[in-house]
Symmetry: C2
Subunit: 302 residues, 2 copies
């Protein structure tokens, strides 16, 4: 069986996690990492023995590009790769924009005969699958999702959004549970010299990622003291006849990377069946994400 | 939108639960109940205002038949309905036989242009979906499923298997957790007069449903004292970077009925796309099981 050729786009925590997850998967191989500028790779020991380029067209044939870049840059990059005939997996996380973008990107994918798994990762993504299963098992009921538990966890989309603000040297945005289905945010920010803390606090609090939740911003001298990669979440459905709870905790970027790497298989199996399109996680059969050469292998543990 | 026409085959606890779940679903309607002999319905208030027949061909057009009958009778009945051009949903639960039967029934479904969702319900079924998602989110790791918790719960397949033994008047088979991924069985049996308790205990313990687990059989005067419809289960995956637990508890036949009724939608959406076949729960996209007329409605809460 020919291995699936994968490119990692971006070299943050998620990109590094994807490299590890690809190495654990015998059906996949890493064609290279796309990073701008590629010359940065010379100083990065984690990229030793890895082909690093600044443009995906400089790599040999790539089946699937994993977009390990800030969520807000994702839609344009999906289009770029779809137009090159390359399948994509991303972890776009703005829930409200998902149905509209999915339809727009679906048209391109179908015309270019590629498959994209869109807006996947932990939530949206596998949590969306959990919510669907809970609804299937309990037709009437009420589902809530709560992030961060008591100690809080690192939200990657939120952290990236703060880091993108001019004047922010480094930041971490934590999410803490604030009652069932509710959360609050704690943001630690290290400022660049000469920037106004009040202006930056206002920019954070008015950002779409934060404006709907209680948000506390603290300016600190060194972010490392407050940093973490941990996150946790709970999906709960209470119904007339069935009650269900799913809890998960772990290293957030590694978790996202595992899911993105599993999605590579759903791209290729869908492409092989000629089912081109841009799909959310719940629009492809779960079996398509699982490793295994035969149906029997994939159904193991069913 | 035309409603999907459904027939319930069998009138035990699961069949009754399906009737309730269909009534909660505005896209479905109950064409009738198939029960042998149909004349029993005259004495059953739960079947008032319901069309009851002893043969499905006596009902008007049926899109999907829900097989609410003992698991061991399921494979033959699926074939019967597939050959009549009717889609089926069942809760066949013998894990080892699933891959082989799925392939056999897939050939018939494709030739008759129908869709069957095979071996669904709680476990196998939605739990299989949970196990798949957990593996997607944590590529390396170890998954265990534990049934019944501390107080135990009613296993429907096990109970039906005991009730099928000659000499058993009534029975309930409870499953209790016995350590992570392990369980033990407690079986309460009400005997018919003139039957030998030792022979029946031996028949239970040598049955495939029981032979691999510690099983205690108690003979009682009145089963009602020991009866329950409650069950619970836990799926757990421990991984290098992510830990996940799913727990669920509820009324076991209602729970199964909810899932079977959700599967009706996956039959019809697959049939409408011309994707005929016999599929396990994880072989159809989760979105196909959800209610909603449009993609936006189905993606709500994604």
């Amino acid at each position: 069986m020919q291995k699936i050729s994968v490119a990692i786009i971006g070299w943050g925590n998620v990109g590094r996690g994807c490299k590890r997850a690809i190495a654990e998967s015998s059906d996949l191989y890493l064609a290279g990492v796309v990073r701008r500028p590629a010359s940065l790779a010379k100083h990065d020991p984690s990229l030793e023995n890895t082909h690093v380029v600044d443009d995906i067209t400089k790599l040999d044939k790539v089946d699937v590009a994993l977009l390990c870049i800030p969520s807000r840059e994702v839609p344009e990059r999906i289009k770029e790769y779809q137009n090159l005939g390359i399948c994509t997996v991303d972890s776009f996380d703005e829930h409200d924009r998902i149905p509209g973008l999915k339809k727009e990107l679906d048209i391109i994918a179908k015309s270019k005969k590629v498959v994209s798994i869109f807006a996947t990762g932990w939530d949206p993504g596998t949590d969306s699958g959990i919510r669907a299963i809970m609804k299937i098992a309990s037709i009437t009921g009420h589902t809530t999702t709560t992030f961060g538990g008591k100690k809080g966890g690192r939200s990657m989309g939120h952290t990236a959004a703060v880091k993108a603000i001019e004047g922010v040297k480094d930041a971490v945005a934590l999410t803490l549970a604030n009652g069932r289905g509710k959360q609050k945010r704690q943001v630690y920010v290290e400022l660049l010299p000469g920037f106004d803390a009040d202006v930056i606090e206002q920019a954070i609090k008015s950002d779409a990622y934060f404006k709907n939740d209680p948000t506390e911003v603290k300016f600190v001298k060194n972010i490392n003291k407050y940093n973490t990669l941990h996150h946790e979440g709970e999906v709960e459905r209470t119904g007339m006849q069935v009650n269900q709870i799913y809890t998960a905790e772990g290293n957030n970027p590694e978790w996202t990377a595992n899911i993105m790497v599993s999605c590579i298989r759903a791209c290729i199996s869908s492409r092989d069946r000629g089912e081109y399109g841009t799909y959310t996680f719940i629009e492809r059969p779960l079996i398509d994400y699982l490793p295994g050469k035969t149906l029997d292998e994939k159904l193991e543990g069913y």
